[in-house]
């Protein structure tokens, strides 16, 4: 058996112990109910099915629309289009109002790119939700009704590549946002495409002893959640109930009430179990919520709008092209960094600048704050492709591919070990170099992968036949310690202690599989350990519901586990005070004379005692109740580090790149639920391997048609594709608060692509810069290196 991580604070009773996941039994037995399982026809009498017209064209406008034949089809209840006065009067919107905190329409993040309509006459990618939606008695009738629509299209020219889209004369995709081109306005708070400009990067690069330049391409990949997007909506009078697989119930309610001008108490949103998130529901503000609500109102019946697998290719990780230059002096001190990126937004802006500006701004300020000369610029560009939305670790993966490769290349140029170069130059802001967290993470990674076996680039350690081995790594900071989550505002949690001393824990968050539910229960048990309770005495409420009384915490920022755990201590303190009060009544003393320990209530001076259970059971049988409404610690404690180390084997003849082993190291501060954390680490590598090796949406360049919106042609890693993965958990850094933990759910995917790229280079002496590293790209890169002239001619 493997050893597992070593806990810093061994006095904990529940936190940090290897033990079962709380929802293991309900999920393993197939009893957990997801959206799909609560929308059966038999469960909702009169249920109607809705579907939207999907654009067959990459760019077109509906010139004329006749819906009469569709409306006349038996079984069709409502046909709704962009021409409908209620729809036409709706505000323009955006699919990224907020990254995590509840946000109203007028305070939305990307207020300068309101580029979506609930239903529009214009379509901008093949598969775009076009201007007509139908509700009917069966999915088959809906399909037939959509076929009966008589539409005359005005076909518009389209553009797929952002470099083409940026050129003058390119077809305008959103003239209402930018009447002269396809570059989106910069972030509202920046007002410039250059978001960092410190010192003089150009001059410093010119004066540096060693300069490297890399051009990377991080292609788009789908979130690929097994559960598809969807919602079921039902009206009773003026009240709307929504069941959805989008994981932010409170923000969904905000979105619907703001778009439909409804009071908040008249919309109830419920999240059942959710079949994966990976950033997908982060863009919660989707037109489908609005048109489904209108359909259900008009029909007077419940309406289900659910995506098929093929339709669920709806938004992806943003494709980003980077140009990265680094300059250093002979002693290994990095003096300049220049980053220039093009964010391929696809048809709608969504959160592209979140990926290419916000994330990179924070990352550069945090990790490279001490480097004197820095310039970073980005342009988010529309193209006629699937929109880039949010996927696990938004923006980090893309910049890490560029910076991770550049760092590796710079180390070679300087004749340094890249681990040494990283430790010499990178530290979290306000901390001394070398950064303790970074040193621990990199040293552990190097030890576990066997870094000492790494030879000089191109020599291919452990060469056998045409196969060469190589080692590489990449590092990043993790994100979202408590201080970064302050915009969430108040965190609400409640505990009820029943008269039999069992606990109902209400720590609302959609259960998407992150393991935060188990973390919740562990933290609850830890904080209530004076009651002498066991884990099985705690019931965690698995579904979110805006009517339950507490605001949900959105499963973003990898943050829920500790955000909710941190405030539980306060609730537990309130429970303790209530036990003391009841004990004081029982023994006729003052509450402060009462102590509560390990399930016993006793008078400090006389040692008269009673068990908590007997005390509560002998009382009025009303549960103890503590509801907290607390903000998080404000102290800026910086952030810890993460790294992935890779060992690869390359067959130079066949162009095969095999990942032999990945070691993924996280400094978590405090590990709350080790099997959950290791599950994130291991599973994150599987997802990263998909992006690194196989996942990509492929277009027919002539027609703009995406060719692989299905899971046969779009390859997702199977159990056979995942090599040995060794997860390593550390507790070096510590944030503010009781646990001072830092989430890892997103950063697990950040470093593998650059680590594999660097390992490939170490094996072969050849650079791969465009993921996924499919065999054709590998062969081409190897061939180009062997014979540059042939390859140039072929291009």
């Amino acid at each position: 058996m493997k050893q597992g991580f070593s806990q810093r604070d061994r006095s904990r009773k529940f936190i940090g112990k290897y033990q079962h996941k709380i929802d293991g039994p309900v999920k393993a037995s197939g009893k957990a109910k997801y959206l799909d399982d609560i929308v059966l026809k038999s469960q909702h009498p009169g249920l109607l099915y809705a579907k939207v017209l999907r654009s067959p064209h990459p760019h077109a406008r509906i010139k004329s629309l006749d819906t009469r034949k569709a409306e006349a089809l038996p079984g069709v209840h409502v046909v709704l289009s962009y021409k409908d006065p209620e729809i036409a009067a709706m505000k323009p919107t955006q699919a990224g109002w907020t990254p995590f905190n509840t946000t109203s329409y007028d305070r939305m993040l990307w207020s300068n790119t309101l580029d979506r309509r609930v239903l529009s006459d214009t379509v901008r990618w093949v598969g775009d939700e076009a201007g007509v939606v139908v509700a009917a008695e069966s999915p088959e009738i809906v399909e037939e009704a959509l076929r009966l629509l008589e539409i005359e299209w005005e076909i518009l020219p389209f553009v797929l590549e952002p470099v083409d889209s940026m050129k003058p004369g390119a077809p305008l995709i959103h003239p209402e946002i930018n009447p002269t081109g396809n570059i989106q306005p910069p972030s509202p708070d920046m007002n410039s495409h250059t978001f960092i400009d410190v010192g003089d990067a150009e001059t410093a690069l010119a004066e540096a002893d060693a300069v490297v330049e890399v051009n990377t391409e991080y292609n788009n990949s789908d979130q690929g959640c097994l559960g598809t997007r969807g919602c079921l909506m039902q009206w009773e009078g003026d009240k709307l109930t929504v069941w959805t697989s989008y994981y932010q119930a409170d923000q969904t309610r905000m979105h619907i009430t703001q778009m439909l001008n409804m009071p908040m108490h008249k919309v109830r949103v419920i999240n059942p179990y959710i079949g994966g998130s990976f950033g997908r529901g982060n863009l919660g503000e989707q037109p489908f919520f609005i048109f489904t609500a209108v359909l259900a109102k008009r029909a007077g019946k419940p309406v289900l709008y659910q995506y098929t697998r093929r339709e669920d290719f709806h938004d992806t990780r943003n494709r980003v092209l980077y140009n990265c230059r680094l300059g250093a002096m002979k002693d290994g001190n990095i003096t300049a960094i220049y980053l220039n990126s093009i964010g391929d937004s696809g048809a709608y802006s969504d959160d592209t600048l979140g990926a290419t500006d916000f994330v990179v701004r924070e990352w550069a300020e945090a990790n490279l704050g001490h480097i004197p000369n820095k310039k970073c610029e980005t342009r988010a560009v529309y193209t006629n492709k699937i929109p880039g939305g949010i996927k696990r670790g938004i923006g980090n993966n893309q910049v890490n591919l560029a910076f991770g490769i550049a760092l590796d290349e710079l180390a070679e140029k300087l004749g340094m070990d890249p681990v040494e170069l990283a430790i010499k130059n990178i530290c979290f802001e306000h901390r001394p170099i070398p950064d303790r967290s970074l040193v621990a993470v990199l040293n552990e990674g190097a030890r576990h992968i066997g870094w000492e076996k790494r030879l000089k680039p191109g020599l291919g350690s452990a060469k056998r036949g045409t196969r060469k081995r190589g080692f590489g790594f990449s590092l990043n900071n993790s994100w979202h310690a408590a201080w970064q989550e302050l915009p969430r505002g108040h965190i609400q949690v409640s505990m009820r202690v029943n008269p039999d001393c069992t606990v109902i824990l209400d720590a609302p968050t959609a259960e998407t599989g992150t393991g935060s539910n188990t973390c919740n229960v562990l933290a609850c048990a830890e904080s209530l350990s004076f009651l002498g309770i066991k884990l099985e005495d705690i019931e965690w409420i698995a579904h979110t519901d805006t009517e339950r009384g507490l605001k949900d915490q959105v499963q973003t920022d990898s943050a829920i586990s500790y955000v909710q755990a941190e405030v539980m201590g306060k609730a537990a303190g309130m429970i303790k005070a209530q036990v003391q009060q009841r004990g004081a009544q029982k023994f006729n003393v003052k509450p402060e004379d009462i102590e509560v320990q390990d399930g016993r209530v006793f008078v400090k001076s006389t040692e008269e005692e009673i068990s908590v259970k007997d005390l509560l059971w002998g009382g009025n049988l009303v549960p103890l109740l503590a509801s907290v409404n607390e903000t998080l610690p404000e102290e800026n404690t910086g952030l810890p580090y993460v790294a992935t180390f890779a060992e690869v084997e390359v067959d130079e003849e066949l162009g095969l790149l095999d990942i032999v082993k990945l070691v993924v190291v996280h400094d978590c501060g405090t590990v709350i639920f080790p099997p959950g954390a290791e599950g994130q680490q291991v599973g994150g590598q599987a997802m990263a391997i998909g992006e690194t090796m196989m996942e990509e949406i492929i277009y027919d360049r002539r027609t703009g048609v995406p060719m692989n919106f299905n899971w046969i042609d779009y390859k997702i890693p199977t159990i056979l594709d995942v090599p040995e993965v060794e997860p390593v958990l550390l507790e070096v850094w510590k944030g503010a608060g009781e646990y001072g933990a830092c989430g890892i759910g997103e950063s697990v995917t950040t470093c593998a692509p650059a680590a594999v790229a660097n390992a490939f280079y170490n094996a072969t002496g050849v650079r791969l810069m465009s993921i996924p590293f499919t065999p054709d790209k590998v062969l081409k890169a190897l061939e180009t290196a062997r014979n540059p002239s042939i390859s140039k001619a072929a291009r």
């Binding site: 997801y34 979130q223 990976f278 599989g513």
Partner: protein
């Protein structure tokens, strides 16, 4: 009306073609919508992900790729038909051995994996790690719990080492 007989989770049912099911009704649709057996999931509906896996006469099959009328005279077992103390379910639920993570995260694929694992263990009660991987290669887990899933299946196989009781 033509009738077919299907044994679902140990009990025979008679279904009328044209009434209870259509000639093109998939087994997955029938089990979920008519029998309310929602443990199996339809995540792709085209045989690419394995979430709809059930056992037919002891063999793991994709119920989204199987027509319900083909099941006339056959025995179908879904996850709901497994015993409450099923060793595979328990192994998936309890996997927490250090170094592998949990065998479940979001859980949407899990019933399919459990049924594929049963199919594998019926054919090969003592699989090697590689055989487990090959046996489960038709199931996708986007959360990427694969190493832990393999551990769970190996553990379930170990537990079955004593004379194995019948699954069906």
């Amino acid at each position: 009306m033509e009738l077919i007989r299907i044994k679902v989770n140990h009990r025979w049912s008679e279904l009328g073609i044209g009434k209870d099911l259509q000639p093109d009704t998939t087994l997955a649709y029938l089990l979920r919508q008519r029998f309310g057996l929602t443990g199996l999931k339809v995540a792709c509906d085209e045989g690419a992900c394995g979430a709809c896996t059930v056992l037919v006469d002891g063999k793991a099959i994709l119920s989204c790729m199987t027509l319900a009328i083909e099941m006339d005279g056959h025995e179908v077992l879904t996850i709901e038909g497994l015993p409450a103390d099923d060793h595979v379910i328990r192994a998936f639920a309890e996997q927490s051995e250090p170094g592998y993570g949990t065998a479940i995260q979001c859980g949407f694929c899990t019933p399919g994996f459990v049924m594929s694992a049963h199919g594998l263990l019926i054919e090969n009660p003592h699989p090697t790690l590689q055989e487990v991987k090959e046996g489960l290669a038709g199931n996708l887990c986007r959360c990427g719990c694969y190493p832990a899933i393999a551990q769970a299946v190996l553990k379930a196989a170990d537990e079955m080492a004593e004379p194995r009781r019948e699954v069906l």
